[in-house]
């Protein structure tokens, strides 16, 4: 078997390919993007026709993966944590339908919000849906869990969540691969009604899911990834979930760890092992990346029995990513170094690239909107969210994919007229179209700026479903053609752009303005340039 140097994301992709996956479905989102990109670049995947094209959003991706599972093949769907909110309807119900071919749902959380608007913990979703979670400690386990996850899913007949966090997703280490498995032959579900969630059938399926919990616990109890390491000093026991185990062990590289440790990487949590630790130890420290979900389960509401300590009582911070230093403090170990960053060091926030088309669009918008006053620009998720920073200070909101258009509509309903939405081309096809339909159906006085750079820019220039289709989509949902205005955002065109935006701001109805210029980061992408030329954009 070969040894590869892989990011955690890439290890998952390789593990899934070796584990017999027939397709991956995803919408790009940091820190999950590289999983799908790895499959897209894989010669083996292309040769075997393994699906890896981007989906319009996480919900369509989740549903397509479920469809592949229905047809008997192994599929995987990947998203960032907030993408799971978009996919939640399909995700929750996939636990009720169950699976035919193995189905892995990868959710990549971003504690400390390196590149996200919140740090929600996806383990809550899996617990909510009552399905197992695999939470790898390192890149090798990430590989193995993707490989083994399909089998687990097929044995338990439910989707399995593979939960990772930024640090593992974007860190490289050596990974040993395993024997390549064949893809499943296609097959229909044994029970032809399994996937029909009419109430009468759903009730039966739900009882099945409840009854299945005991099997899930049994698998967790004997999982190779949940390990109990006994030790003499029982004044303290430690539960370390997923990557938190690394930060624990890092503190004992040069000394003996003499407390019992339970490493948890497969959920539901292994009841017998947990109870043994609680019974044997005076106090239990819970180390987990993300929310204190295990800590809360053990603590319950009453402060009786074994003392549980962790993020809830301040032994560890309630929010943010863990690291070896924080874990050392929670264990009462000395911190080596308390040097501060010199005060001369200034913050260097990310910014839009020099020459970016979004910048020119914002400069024109700022000028055009002046006469109406501040506080009326609703933006969305993408590089253009950086328009919030100086010197532009151009936007007033960024909430979730697609919220620009719908929030502008709601604000205009409240009398904030004109209200402006700023959304990127890829975010528009992800979740903007339905909002535009709402606005058109009431002829809301909003101006929607779809800042088109031909790609999903912030995640690294992935394909945009909107390429060459924006005007047709807008016209198709009912925006009047004379109020769909396209221009090229450049310094030279500034006067013209300002005038055009002013005209549409003054219009008492839905208008769409499309500033259109290729993302400067993609200027060497020959394939994209050829497609743009073909489309005559």
């Amino acid at each position: 078997m070969q040894k590869l140097l892989l990011l955690g994301d890439e290890a998952i992709a390789q593990g899934a390919l070796d584990g017999g996956m027939s397709g991956v479905y995803a919408y790009p989102g940091t820190p999950s993007t590289e999983i799908t990109e790895y499959v897209q670049a894989s010669e083996y995947a292309n040769e075997k026709n393994i699906h890896s094209k981007w989906s319009a959003n996480e919900k369509t991706a989740m549903e397509a993966a479920l469809g592949m599972s229905y047809a008997g093949k192994r599929s995987m769907v990947c998203m960032k944590h907030v993408g799971l909110n978009v996919a939640a309807d399909a995700f929750m119900n996939s636990a009720i339908t169950g699976v035919n071919g193995g189905l892995i749902v990868v959710s990549a959380d971003d504690p400390s919000m390196h590149s996200s608007q919140n740090e929600q913990d996806s383990r809550f979703y899996a617990k909510f849906a009552m399905i197992p979670i695999l939470e790898p400690t390192n890149q090798q386990e990430a590989y193995e869990m993707a490989y083994y996850g399909f089998e687990l899913s097929e044995k338990l007949k439910v989707p399995v969540m593979l939960r990772i966090t930024t640090r593992l997703a974007h860190s490289r280490a050596g990974v040993e691969t395993m024997e390549l498995k064949k893809q499943n032959e296609g097959s229909l579900p044994e029970n032809p009604k399994q996937f029909i969630l009419l109430p009468a059938i759903a009730r039966v399926n739900y009882k099945g899911l409840l009854a299945n919990q005991i099997n899930m616990e049994a698998f967790s109890e004997k999982s190779d990834y949940n390990n109990y390491y006994d030790a003499d000093d029982k004044s303290l026991g430690i539960i370390a979930c997923g990557i938190a185990y690394n930060y624990l062990m890092d503190n004992y590289q040069d000394k003996k760890l003499n407390h019992p440790v339970l490493k948890i990487s497969q959920y539901p949590i292994p009841r017998d092992k947990v109870n043994k630790l609680l019974k044997d130890c005076d106090k239990v420290l819970v180390l987990e990346e993300g929310a204190p979900i295990v800590e809360e389960m053990l603590k319950g509401y009453q402060e009786t029995g074994t003392l549980i300590t962790g993020r809830l009582d301040g032994a560890l911070p309630r929010d943010g990513e863990l690291n070896p230093t924080l874990v050392a403090k929670s264990l009462g170990l000395d911190s080596v170094n308390d040097i501060e960053i010199p005060s001369i060091v200034e913050a260097r926030p990310p910014a839009m690239c020099q020459g970016c088309g979004h910048i020119d669009a914002y400069l024109a918008l700022n000028e055009a909107i002046k006469e109406y006053g501040k506080g009326r620009v609703f933006a969305d998720i993408g590089c253009y969210t950086l328009g919030a920073l100086a010197p532009y200070n151009a936007i007033n909101s960024c909430v979730d994919m697609g919220a620009s258009i719908t929030m502008a509509k709601g604000a205009s309903d409240a009398g904030l007229v004109p209200a402006v939405a700023v959304i990127g081309d890829s975010t528009f096809t992800h979740s903007g179209i339905t909002g535009l339909i709402d606005a058109v159906s009431e002829n809301s006085p909003i101006t929607v700026i779809i800042s088109d750079n031909y790609v999903a820019g912030m995640t690294g220039g992935q394909d945009s479903k909107a390429l060459g289709k924006i005007e047709d989509i807008c016209q198709g949902v009912g925006v009047k053609p004379e109020h769909i205005r396209v221009f090229k955002p450049t310094k030279k065109n500034m006067e013209e752009m300002i005038e055009l935006i002013k005209e549409e701001l003054a219009y008492d109805g839905v208008s769409v303005i499309v500033p259109r210029r290729q993302c400067v980061q993609t200027m060497r992408n020959k394939e994209l340039i050829a497609r743009v030329k073909d489309l005559n954009l």
Binding site: H170, S171, Y245, N323, T325, D338, I339, I344, E346
Partner: protein, 193 residues
């Protein structure tokens, strides 16, 4: 035997090429390796770092603890100071002296250099000028790797071999320029430490 490095710079300055070269060399020497990178929004002209750990023993954490780094290797002077809480008391701060000034409140350059000179062990190197002398301005990141190489527990030849593998498909000329850059950086440190 371990080396914990923090690679520092600004998005787009090429710290991932440095990391890839060290990574390739570490693999060739059958060492354990972990290398945490920054992707996504923060890559857009913001401060970026990569935690790189090499050891002949198993490595657990992807992140280096405070006070644990043997080397801060920075391709930009102010950025080298941002990670001081992570430098061990005997660690080396190796930094390029050419500022990357993309913020309105960039501090006085002399004051930044003075702050660096307060450290116990430091190498200040004008990697951009050295790279320009060699005839490859874009190789200043590899000059920096050369400058830090005496403190990295990997044979120098393995780093050269790593460059051959990383830049091999760009042709012999690019490989040679980068190897010259690596050697020039190392020479500077050997003469100035």
């Amino acid at each position: 035997m371990k080396t914990d490095l923090i690679l520092a710079g600004v998005g787009g300055q090429g710290i991932l090429s440095i990391a890839a070269t060290i990574g390739m060399a570490a693999l060739d020497n059958n060492l354990y390796l972990k290398q945490a990178e920054v992707h996504g929004m923060s890559q857009r002209g913001g401060d970026v770092q990569s935690n790189m750990r090499i050891s002949d023993n198993e490595i657990f954490s992807d992140l280096i603890p405070k006070g644990g780094a043997d080397i801060i290797l920075s391709v930009e002077p102010m950025e080298s100071l941002r990670y001081l809480p992570f430098l061990s008391k005997d660690g080396w701060l190796v930094t390029n002296t050419t500022p990357y000034n993309n913020i309105p409140n960039y501090p006085n350059e002399d004051e930044v250099i003075n702050e660096i000179k307060k450290q116990k062990n430091y190498i200040l190197i004008d990697a951009d000028s050295i790279a320009a002398e060699i005839g490859s301005k874009r190789s200043s990141n590899i000059v920096m790797l050369g400058a830090a190489s005496p403190f990295i527990n990997i044979p120098f030849e393995s780093l050269e071999e790593g460059l051959r593998k990383i830049f091999g498909r760009k042709g012999e000329k690019i490989v040679d320029l980068n190897i010259a850059a690596l050697r020039a950086g190392r020479k500077f440190t050997e003469e100035n430490r």
